[in-house]
């Protein structure tokens, strides 16, 4: 992956299109099918992908742009997701040597693990704002099924994003060949 921002504009644009499609599915298709209490956070999945696989000094910029587009579909705003995303990417940066996407199962497991980190950071921020633990508990009950679904989607979504970001094919759909 080339480090100049100009080489990353096209993959970023395509990733935004994918995010928008996912958001439409999450906000309109699933509620139309009767799933109204759960919403799938595809923005988290895409940000985690950037942290896991994209080597770039502009990750923070990519995250803020993606979160901004996510905020067009949610009143959540872009700020909290951006803060969580950058902190998670920093954690991933420190653990990168230990993370090997050697199978679909590992990809699912790591995605689930970092979603838990994401939840903890976001819950801490929400608690500071709301000072009401029952809301965090309510959020946690929704987080369990939502995050499991997102983790199960991870291998396929990562395969698509691998192609867009030109991540080495040896790191393919199920991760790098060991």
């Amino acid at each position: 992956m080339k480090n100049e921002i100009k080489h990353q504009l096209i993959p970023l644009g395509l990733t935004i299109i994918i995010l928008v499609l996912f958001e439409v599915v999450s906000t309109a298709v699933f509620p139309a099918l009767g799933v109204k209490n759960y919403r799938l956070p595809f923005n988290i999945l895409i940000v985690l992908y950037l942290g896991f696989k994209v080597e770039s000094p502009f990750i923070a910029i990519h995250i803020i742009v993606l979160q901004y587009f996510h905020s067009l579909f949610s009143i959540e705003g872009w700020e909290m997701g951006t803060i969580s995303g950058i902190l998670i990417c920093m954690i991933i940066g420190y653990l990168k040597e230990l993370l090997h996407f050697s199978s679909a199962f590992i990809t699912i497991l790591l995605t689930q693990l970092f979603q838990v980190f994401w939840f903890i950071i976001l819950a801490a921020m929400l608690y500071m704002k709301m000072t009401d633990f029952s809301l965090i508990l309510d959020k946690f009950y929704r987080f369990i099924p939502e995050s499991i679904f997102i983790s199960l989607c991870a291998p396929v979504v990562f395969l698509i994003l691998d192609r867009l970001w030109g991540v080495s094919s040896k790191e393919g759909m199920l991760g790098e060949e060991v």
């Binding site: 480090n3 439409v24 309109a28 919403r39 923005n43 910029i61 579909f73 959540e76 705003g77």
Partner: protein
């Protein structure tokens, strides 16, 4: 090579710190009662929302197709000729019933709040918020239809919420189930005041109600009209839980909204005369002062 790596690392740290600082600054200055959209956001939301709207359209058409055709074809296999005629007639009757029901529903919606001196804009729900933490609905009407920020949203049954974010052709409603939405309310029977706040997926809580107020299960809660967002007298919900503690000066009240949010399809936005109402109130006060002098 090492110098290049160090430079990339430095760049990364710089961008991380800069974006984190920007996010924290923006978060601390964020307005949680409404969100004024920029021209770019306005354009983007108006561009993406038709996709959400088309999903609702496709869903309606598909369910109509299945209800009107596929089911009837299956039924007609038993007795082709007669069943077909019956099915056609049933189909027509079903369609008329649906139209009649829809007419009745829309009529009720538009007649609702006849005593309120407000314009009513009928809107259809096209999407829900992308984050399940927020109980927000997107409707297919916006600034171009006369809707304003913080306009109240109701159904024939009661209060839904208010307009939080607005673009030319779409608007986001923050419902009374959202913890960011607070309604100044009163209990109909006892006239006791409190603040209704979103709590969970289908419940709200009433805060700051004095522990001595004799509220009971089933009491109706209405909007009080204070706060300049909601008109007075809109039904919010019924009290389903009362907890009085031996200590403390307030009681914990849980409310079940009268509006069934899981089956909500259309809503009415009350618009237009918030400023006029305020003007009338000021004028009435001025007149009263003039009479006293």
């Amino acid at each position: 090579m090492k110098i290049l790596e160090e430079s990339v690392q430095r760049q990364k740290i710089f961008f991380n710190v800069a974006v984190l600082a920007l996010s924290l600054f923006s978060l601390s200055h964020r307005q949680f009662s409404f969100d004024r959209t920029t021209a770019f956001e306005n354009f983007m939301v108006d561009m993406f929302s038709p996709m959400q709207s088309s999903v609702t359209y496709v869903k309606t058409r598909t369910s109509n197709f299945f209800e009107h055709y596929i089911m009837n074809i299956n039924a007609s296999q038993n007795n082709t000729k007669l069943q077909k005629t019956v099915a056609d007639l049933k189909d027509q009757v079903f369609s008329f019933e649906q139209v009649s029901k829809e007419n009745k529903r829309l009529k009720e919606l538009l007649q609702f709040g006849g005593e309120l001196d407000l314009q009513k804009v009928l809107a259809q729900i096209i999407a829900w918020d992308a984050n399940s933490d927020f109980k927000v609905l997107r409707i297919n009407k916006g600034k171009a239809d006369g809707i304003e920020l913080q306009s109240s949203v109701v159904t024939s049954v009661g209060l839904v919420g208010y307009i939080f974010r607005l673009t030319d052709h779409y608007a986001d409603i923050i419902t009374i189930l959202d913890p960011n939405n607070r309604v100044d309310a009163l209990v109909e029977r006892t006239r006791s005041h409190g603040i209704v706040e979103g709590y969970s997926r289908n419940r709200a809580i009433m805060k700051y109600l004095a522990g001595t107020e004799p509220v009971i299960l089933g009491d109706l809660v209405l909007s009080s009209g204070l706060g300049n967002i909601y008109p007075k007298g809109l039904k919010i919900g019924k009290i389903t839980k009362v907890e009085r503690e031996s200590y403390g000066i307030t009681q914990s009240i849980e409310i079940e909204p009268v509006v069934n949010f899981s089956t909500l399809e259309e809503v009415v936005v009350l618009v237009g005369t918030k400023d006029e109402v305020k003007e009338k109130e000021w004028k009435a006060l001025d007149d009263a002062e003039g009479d006293e002098q």
